[in-house]
Assembly symmetry: C2
Homo-oligomer: 222 residues x 2
């Protein structure tokens, strides 16, 4: 049971890849930090080969940078990159949302309502930890899922991870968080009404608000 709720094994097989990815997005490593491979090996209790292969994949994905014979490093953060990511997110997710609204079927509508509901529940429970993040990512993924473009979804997911490196820099902000949560439900409403134009406008605003949160946190950390 509940098979359809499962997340589809984040594109790579090895468990260490998923764990490292989550930790990198979640900010458990400092930006610019050099990863000590032997330390990671012990910390995560994995062998050298699987670890290195995971690091290589993460580097290709953009969550690490690989320097010639100098190992792996967590990418630096910059205002310019955050702007870039937010702007591209706006374009790509807007595009995907429009297409999703055009093509999404009844199953999608149900999935959307479910995803939004779970997110709200997790919110009320004040369990604003990793579980909320998981559900939040899932909601946004569900929203654009039936856009019909595998590559567009791939890029959007990549940008989400990058964006979250900024957004998750600081502690939670209850007031703005409430506002963003409301938008999630409004997005569902507009999607169900098949109002692509309004939905896209709201999505633009949603990303912009998130951007402001991320920017504020980035500037505090700098």
């Amino acid at each position: 049971m509940n098979k359809h709720i499962q997340f589809p094994a984040a594109s790579a097989s090895s468990p260490i890849y998923d764990v490292l990815r989550r930790d990198l997005v979640g900010g458990r490593f400092k930006a610019g930090e050099k990863l000590a491979i032997n330390a990671l090996k012990e910390q995560y209790q994995v062998g050298l080969s699987p670890l290195r292969e995971a690091l290589n994949k993460l580097a290709a994905y953009g969550l690490l940078v690989q320097e010639n014979q100098r190992g792996f490093r967590v990418p630096k953060l910059s205002r310019e990159e955050l702007d870039d990511i937010a702007r591209l997110r706006t374009e790509l997710e807007g595009m995907a949302l429009e297409r999703a609204i055009a093509h999404g079927d009844a199953v999608w509508e149900a999935d959307l309502l479910a995803a939004a509901h779970r997110l709200k529940r997790a919110d009320i429970t004040l369990d604003k930890g990793e579980e909320w993040e998981r559900l939040h990512t899932h909601f946004h993924r569900t929203l654009v899922a039936p856009c019909g473009s595998v590559w567009l979804l791939r890029f959007i997911e990549q940008l989400h991870d990058q964006f979250d490196r900024y957004r998750r820099l600081g502690p939670k902000m209850p007031t703005i968080r409430q506002e963003l949560d409301d938008q999630h439900h409004q997005l569902v409403e507009l999607a169900l009404q098949r109002d692509a134009t309004a939905a896209r406008a709201l999505m633009d605003d949603h990303i912009h608000k998130s951007y402001e949160v991320a920017l504020a946190r980035y500037q505090q950390h700098a």
Copy 2:
């Protein structure tokens, strides 16, 4: 000398990565084929570890698929995916071209002219092999280079590689090739005139024509 002409070491350090990437894009492996790692090891004269790390990176990049405990496989080709890639290329490269025209400086103009000229020369020389492909990729990269978005450029490059897996399926077609080559020069002209609208329209058409070539070749191979 000529330092500014150099390509910036295709984002990964290891030479085997670049070679494999070129061979995958160039179609030296059949779509759907399972890669025999030991065979590759001998064929490319590399050790197992560097090879596996390269394969992992290529899988994260999308030029390979990794199956649980079943090694690596060349992704299948499909009409649907080709359509997807072409459509996204149109959107993303159009966007990038507009921004490049807005921001490109005099150095860009010079680079563009140089890239187009070299491409034409390679064309006339009838050396329509790997060298022409290199220059063609370089031209398109130069065209959008000053768009101001690192991530947009990254995605465009990725899509280019994917697109070329289809385009390079068959032998050269001189007539349509000539038409596409002319468009390269027209693109330069419009870019220098800073006519973003016309340039984007031409780019749309350019990608569409390339798409038709790629589609024809794909259908012949199927």
